[in-house]
């Protein structure tokens, strides 16, 4: 392939991806007739509902990340260390959220945990928030598990664990001081994907009737012209900021250059 053809394909690809984004950004700046302005952004950022739903979703995203880490890191570690024969089964389970629609999952939750069930989580705000967080963790499971598992693959889990054990370390020390720091970049990449999923998630939050950012996006899209595009641009910037953070963390992790 000639150099010119390579450039042409690259430009075509860039155009395919960037042009719609440029259109979206351009439209979000066109609220004021005849000139570009940030009016749509000012309107969105000044909306108390935006601040409320955005901070709710950020909080839920952080809780989901913490819960996901506590669930996935020890599980993936244990599977690698003691149950390698169960890896295909665990991988299959972690892939299920990709094939089971969120609406099915949330209806299952509502049936199982409604106010007349043995565990009436939907009967209180705290319980519903907890349920929503579990739902988010389920949705992000394929990405989180894969990211952590890939991170664990880059280190000799068994030998490092045995070395730490021979030095007197227990399981919590091994996980917290040896395994987690060595897969931190992988965990963070899973965490940022989780963050992006939670920030845009609509189905679960809407059906559990929680004031999340996803339903707010949908509400704005149904009722306003320019603000949804400003919101989409903000969401897009958040996603790219997350990806940039992954790169930064990778770059500033000194030991990441280690020969493993």
């Amino acid at each position: 392939m000639t150099r010119a053809a390579s450039w042409a394909i690259l430009l075509l690809g860039l155009t395919y991806f960037i042009l719609p984004l440029l259109g979206m950004i351009e439209f979000s700046l066109s609220m004021r007739r005849g000139e570009y302005s940030f009016d749509a952004y000012v309107a969105v950022l000044g909306d108390p509902q935006f601040r409320q739903t955005f901070s709710y979703s950020v909080m839920m995203a952080l809780l989901t990340i913490v819960f996901g880490m506590l669930l996935v890191v020890p599980t993936a570690f244990w599977v690698r260390l003691k149950l390698p024969h169960l890896r295909p089964v665990i991988e299959f389970i972690t892939l299920l959220p990709l094939v089971i629609p969120a609406i099915v999952v949330v209806f299952g939750y509502i049936r199982l945990y409604n106010t007349s069930s043995w565990l009436p989580l939907t009967g209180s705000v705290l319980g519903t928030n907890l349920l929503l967080m579990f739902g988010y963790a389920t949705l992000s499971l394929p990405y989180m598990y894969r990211a952590v598992d890939t991170g664990l693959r880059t280190i000799d889990v068994t030998t490092l664990t045995e070395a730490a054990q021979s030095l007197g370390a227990g399981w919590i020390t091994i996980l917290g001081r040896i395994i987690l720091p060595n897969v931190l970049v992988a965990v963070l990449s899973g965490a940022f994907v989780t963050f992006a999923i939670v920030m845009g998630e609509f189905t679960m939050a809407a059906l559990l009737n929680r004031p999340a950012f996803g339903p707010y996006l949908q509400l704005m899209g149904a009722n306003k012209a320019y603000e949804p595009f400003a919101l989409a641009t903000i969401a897009f910037i958040i996603t790219w900021a997350c990806m940039g953070l992954i790169q930064l963390v990778t770059r500033f992790t000194k030991h990441d250059k280690a020969a493993r």
């Binding site: 070395a163 021979s166 060595n182 030991h255 250059k257």
Partner: protein, 348 residues
């Protein structure tokens, strides 16, 4: 008094018995090597002492305490691994101090011990480096320092030199032995390299198919092998089938030559083991002799290795290279002298 005792140790993985009735008594400060080919069970024994595998049967006691069922982090055992196993996220100093930190030692004590250990391994300036910034030999020294820092009762070395190049391997094995002698720490060393085992150990355990075939000093293992496997595995050994002519005097016939071993032998056929370096070129008074034809000659620098046809049997001979002697040539018929006492009669 015995410091570490392993008695009737067994380990099975499913139907596969990898360690069978293994017994060993180790004195305090002794350096013991477990030597054997891949799959002989030596690493499994070491891992059971470390606590990474639970024995199927048997007992391990350290300083009189039964540790057979104790978790690895409660055994106070230091271990060095083949793959170094340094924690990549920690600096050299943090790696060395890890065991002490886990024990909750004060920071000042940790810093002092880390400095002492780094000085011991000859890397006093490397404390702030990360493992990836060190060579393989340096990494293994740090792994040794890390294992020794918490003052373990026993040091276990699982083929620590296998991943290093030949030159580093020789210098590091001398260092390990010197450090072990200096600290007087009881050490079990696993290796499949007989030269390492012979040069470093107080005693060697030669393992074969999960069983300790022979336990002895390097001298005994090399010069007085108890079994055919030990004789063949440790060093190079010529095995020759000999026809016993007179069992009482040990008169045998090998490839057309007669030898009188001067010790009683069973009747019929016996297998003789001859080390290549025990044979010398030319007949010597008072020595037994063998006659053969040179079929191959390899010049190895300090040693010239000959291969001879001895009737229908083959024999390797190592001669020291000297500038005075003219080396023989392929096709020459030569006489070899040997002290009958050097000929091993190999059992099972």
């Amino acid at each position: 008094m015995t410091f570490l005792t392993i008695s009737r140790l067994e380990k099975s993985f499913g139907a596969n018995r990898v360690v069978k009735d293994f017994n060993l008594e180790v004195e305090k400060g002794e350096f013991i090597s477990l030597l054997g080919p891949s799959g002989c069970g030596k690493t499994t024994v070491l891992r059971m002492v470390a606590g990474f595998e639970l024995p199927s049967a048997g007992r391990i006691t350290i300083a009189g305490k039964d540790v057979s069922r104790l978790r690895p982090n409660h055994r106070n055992i230091g271990m060095v691994f083949q793959a170094y196993a340094l924690f990549p996220n920690l600096t050299v100093a943090q790696n060395v101090g890890f065991g002490l930190k886990v024990k909750g030692a004060p920071a000042r004590e940790i810093a002092a011990r880390v400095a002492e250990m780094l000085a011991l391994i000859g890397l006093p300036e490397m404390g702030e480096r990360y493992p990836y910034q060190l060579s393989g030999g340096q990494q293994q020294r740090v792994a040794l320092a890390r294992a020794l820092a918490p003052k373990p009762q026993v040091l276990l070395l699982d083929e620590p030199l296998s991943a290093l190049d030949a030159k580093v391997r020789v210098s590091l094995r001398n260092e390990i032995r010197a450090i072990q002698r200096e600290l007087g720490i009881t050490t079990i060393f696993v290796t499949h390299d007989q030269e390492e085992a012979l040069s470093m150990s107080d005693r060697i355990v030669v393992m074969h198919q999960g069983v300790a075939d022979q336990v002895g000093t390097p001298f005994d293992i090399y010069n007085r092998p108890a079994t055919r496997f030990v004789a063949g595995f440790v060093g190079t050994l010529n095995t020759l089938t000999a026809q016993v002519i007179d069992p009482a005097s040990g008169h045998v016939r090998v490839g057309g030559s007669d030898l009188v071993l001067g010790r009683a032998l069973p009747g019929g056929e016996v297998v003789l083991g001859l080390r290549p370096e025990m044979l010398r070129l030319g007949a010597e008074p008072g020595m037994a002799s063998l006659t053969g034809t040179i079929t191959e000659l390899d010049f190895l620098g300090s040693v010239i290795r000959l291969r001879l046809d001895l009737g229908d049997q083959r024999l390797a001979v190592d001669l020291f290279n000297t500038t005075r002697a003219t080396p023989p040539r392929v096709g020459d018929s030569v006489t070899l002298a040997l002290d009958p006492a050097d000929a091993l009669v190999i059992g099972a």
